[in-house]
């Protein structure tokens, strides 16, 4: 009995979460005139809003930009943050803990505080209006470093010793011995970084003016706020769906690892 109540409660909670999402997708496929009163299903499904969107903004180009920027950032974060995490977890050097605490401390700084200094850096480096401006500032990330460090600390020490006896360099230990055993962590870092990069709006708005370099969220924001959608709700919704789609696909694909890495790494000492 108690169980049933819990399930009902959880289902209600799930519906309140999912319904807006569902509505967004359905509404983007509904004829413009029906959106205002839409509750569950429109009388007919149409791609009119999508077609209209494509004709109004260079969404295709921005989609490619977004994929490019997010992928590059993700790849960079996985490589560089894991290297830092490796050093912090497994190498002995003076000041290791101090560096670690400083890195942790940066996690408490809100993005807004570093926004201006970062922008000035980009200007000084002449990187405004380049892809580099979108990727470079995000290549190292404290949270990813922390996750990698923890994953490496959890590996049996003898595994690394064995690799050393076998003649592995630090790079080989990291990428050939440790990486295959921390896939859940890599996937988590990958998804979080990809999502973070994909959803970033404020930073691209600041450093990118050139329309051909704009990312999709930036484009969509400019589009729906900037009046080019001509206050047509359907078109705005269509772009929002397009924005959410890659993340959803990625999540569905990697969901298994998501759950797994929450549970445990599957390795025992």
């Amino acid at each position: 009995m108690k169980k049933i109540l819990i399930y009902i409660f959880l289902s209600l909670a799930a519906i309140t979460f999912l319904y807006p999402f569902y509505w967004m997708i359905v509404a983007s496929l509904a004829p413009e005139s029906e959106i205002g009163g839409l509750w569950f299903l429109p009388t007919k499904l149409t791609f009119a809003s999508y077609i209209q969107m494509l004709s109004k903004i260079p969404i295709g180009r921005s989609l490619l930009n977004s994929i490019f920027v997010a992928s590059l950032t993700t790849l960079g974060v996985i490589i560089f943050s894991s290297m830092v995490g490796y050093a912090l977890a497994l190498m002995k050097f003076k000041g290791r803990n101090v560096i670690f605490y400083i890195i942790i401390f940066t996690m408490t700084l809100p993005f807004q505080i570093t926004l201006i200094p970062n922008y000035i850096t980009m200007v000084k480096l002449n990187l405004v209006d380049t892809y580099a401006a979108l990727v470079l500032p995000f290549l190292l990330n404290a949270f990813a470093i922390l996750l990698f460090r923890q994953a490496f600390l959890g590996m049996p020490k003898a595994l690394i010793d064995a690799a050393r006896v076998d003649g592995c360099s630090d790079f080989r230990i990291l990428f050939q011995v440790l990486f295959p055993n921390i896939i859940p962590t890599i996937v988590i870092v990958g998804i979080l970084t990809f999502m973070g990069s994909w959803n970033e709006v404020l930073w691209p708005l600041i450093v990118i003016r050139d329309e051909s370099l704009m990312t999709m969220p930036q484009m969509v924001t400019l589009f729906s706020v900037g009046g080019r959608a001509e206050s047509q709700l359907g078109v705005k919704l269509a772009s929002a769906v397009l924005l959410a789609l890659p993340i959803m696909i990625a999540y569905a694909f990697f969901q298994k690892y998501f759950i797994q890495s929450m549970a445990s790494s599957g390795l025992k000492e």
Binding site: P156, A158, L159, D161, A162, A163, R164, V165, D166, G167, C168, R172, V177, P180, N181, L267, E269
Partner: protein, 364 residues
Amino acid sequence: MAEVRLVNIGKTFEEGMQVVKNLNLTIQDKEFVVLVGPSGCGKTTILRMIAGLEDITTGELYIDQKKVNELDPSKRQIAMVFQNYALYPHMTAYQNMAFGLKIKKVPKAQIHEQVMRAAEILNIQDILQKKPGKMSGGQRQRIAIGRAIVRRPKVFLFDEPLSNLDAKLRGQMRIELAKLHKKLDATVVYVTHDQVEAMTLGDRVVVLNEGEIAQNASPMELYSNPGSKFVAEFIGSPKMNFIEGKILLLDGQLVFRNNELQFDLSSLNYQNLKNHIGQEVELGIRSEDIYPTASNLKNYVKVKGQIIAIELLGNEKLIYAELEESSLIAKVKAQHEAQIRSSIDFYLDLEKAYFFSKENGQRI
């Protein structure tokens, strides 16, 4: 093949803890040397220094007459087998064994040949395609040993390789390791805290205590001629029995005395005891040198005890008895009648007794 020589080797960790002190040890070519000692005495640390996985704080390490203090582990011509196997979880048994050679850029055909030869020696041909996660402890241990063999090292280093196995498998692997040593004809340094393992496997056993060598001798020598109470207590099962007392000179006679017993020492061949008159000592005697009857003994002393437990071993049994101030474990024939809580007379064979200084534990 190669000799390993440790000259004044010391290890101090960052926190200032000195774990290994001024160690001098030469392991001869093709010798099987076992480092044994209680937990925390520095066995693993010594082995890791030989392997190059731990920096040497002071002293010099030579492998095959070459100083290797600064040499990379992979260049020292050693192979190490770890307590928890340390196999690469994402690789099959075959890949685990081949990995080191692959890094060395050994040609594929030769790698295959070497791996297959090792697999044959260890009888693991049928699990080569399995990953470690799907193997039993014994199989993992074999693969780990295989990984070492494939490297064709000059020196094998083993760190408690059998301690994760159950008792039966441990006994079996112990024998296999002894055979393997014969077959490979290699220098072996083997670490364990199990004295039975040390005694069965070692050509020579080095007993360590708090980072120092307590004694370095053949297994038989350690057992029959321990240099200190520490070694006497550590080697042998059940443990050697100890009875505290004093050496005294009474009416021109050398005697051992405590509150419950006194006996004459002059007829014994312990010349050194004369130099310890008036000092506190401990008499040590092994369980098998304690008898329930005096039948064939020439020099003995009788003690009275209360039986508190009996452990049947098969054709022998261990009798745990309490004396007034100490306790004894005697190993007697299983047929010998004994009742718990009854009193018993023991006859200690004094010709087999050892004396240790109470002050520093050294043999007298």
